[in-house]
Amino acid sequence: MDLTILGWGDTGWGDEMFYGALMTLAVAACAYALGIAIGTGFAAMKLSGSVSLRVVADLYTTVVRGIPELLIIYLVFFGGGSVLRWVAKGIFGYGEFIDLPLFVTGMVCIGVSAGAYATEVIRGAVLAVPVGQIEAARAIGMSKSKRFWRILVPQVARYALPGLGNVWQLTLKETSLISVIGLVEIMRQATVGAGSTKEPFTFYITAFVLYLCLASLSNRGFIRAEVWANRGVRTT
């Protein structure tokens, strides 16, 4: 394995791979944030008394978790673009190609998928908080918002963190799928490097190491967060 081809600057691929890793991290982080927001919203819908909201949320999690992530990307990127152009041409008479911003499209696709998994994790975590505690809080006269922030949120975070850590790892790896729409992240950059130098092993090993670094570093973060969320909880 010749490591000089992974050098920095114009003579090596090191900088390209590094920027690819930054792109992976950026897409994953944004998609994850979107996923948590979606997950919180849909978990609330699932736990709400309204039947129609529950049906909508159930439909979302069933459909999104049931189809491959790649299909979501194809549907949004190619299908979404076509629909957009069709609307633009038919209604506004604008016949030019409308380019969907790659980063946003990729982030939305991954985020929508992460959201479905996050919904279930957060819903489970809310259900894990003993009802007695909410009743006790109400009994001592806590307001609704106080009950939410002081009783529910800290405990939901504690129960949800391990599951949300999984969702993060999943999100990180799913970003590799958006290389098909042309966003240059780790996987796309590795393919280009492998095809351009005929050294596939070097590039796929580099991609392997980069993913592993991102995953293990973020895993440490989640362990810390879990320790923090579990402070004050007796472990034995």
Binding site: G7, R85, G90, V192, S196, K198
Partner: protein, 281 residues
Amino acid sequence: MKTKLTIVAALAAAVLAGPAVAKDYKSITIATEGAYKPWNFKDASGKLVGFEIDFAEELCKRMGIKCKIVEQAWDGIIPSLKAGKYDAIIAGMSITEKRKKVITFSRDYLAGGGSFAVMKSSPIAGLKVMVSKVNLKDISAAEQGEIDALNKALAGKTIGVQTATTHENFVRKYLSKDIKIRTYDTQENLDLDLEAGRVDAALASMNYWVPLLKTDKGKDFSLLGPHLSGGVFGDGTGSGIRKEDQKLADMMSKAITSTLKDGSCATMATKWFGYDACSQP
């Protein structure tokens, strides 16, 4: 109610009508894969390079239009063309019937196909070639002469091909019955038997032989006979274009033919592939 209907009808008409005016091609965007050396790839500074980059720029010059070359992963290269992300694909794409169902192609610029190789020490190694390129699509008398010469040289000999390839289709269809055919699961095994003398000649793609002959492994081999392409070998490599842009495909084809006629395609191909991989004009 009536006005509402009129609006709906007008909208529907606008949607169904589509682009009525023929497009003027003043500037186009061309997609390439960027990961297929030496067709199209990237140097370490991240710049797109390769035969097809040079070739696309030359075509645009000849068509007198401005071109922007963008990279696109192979997986989405046809859907993105259809979605309008770019106007043409120049990415080592073989012209196939299946692809022709969804997009159209310019004429071919690279021939594809293959050639026989023998040991340099073989008695038939010096076989004279009158026509260096034989296109099986419509075989001229001179081209048929080359195939006959091959059959004569190989009469009574054993040849090898990799199994289930276009090369096997060629030997089954065009070689006479007194030539023994051995098939191999891998090209490497075929090379070993060619070296060992178990087969007298081997047929494989030009893009495989030419780089191999320059290495230590292939230094004892030499090519035999003409560069065979077309027909059972497929229709070569062309530029993929949306069906509604037939006019652009015709412009491309014209420009391609002119680069094939004046030898500029051959010059570029020799630079990147080490031999004249271009189609016949």
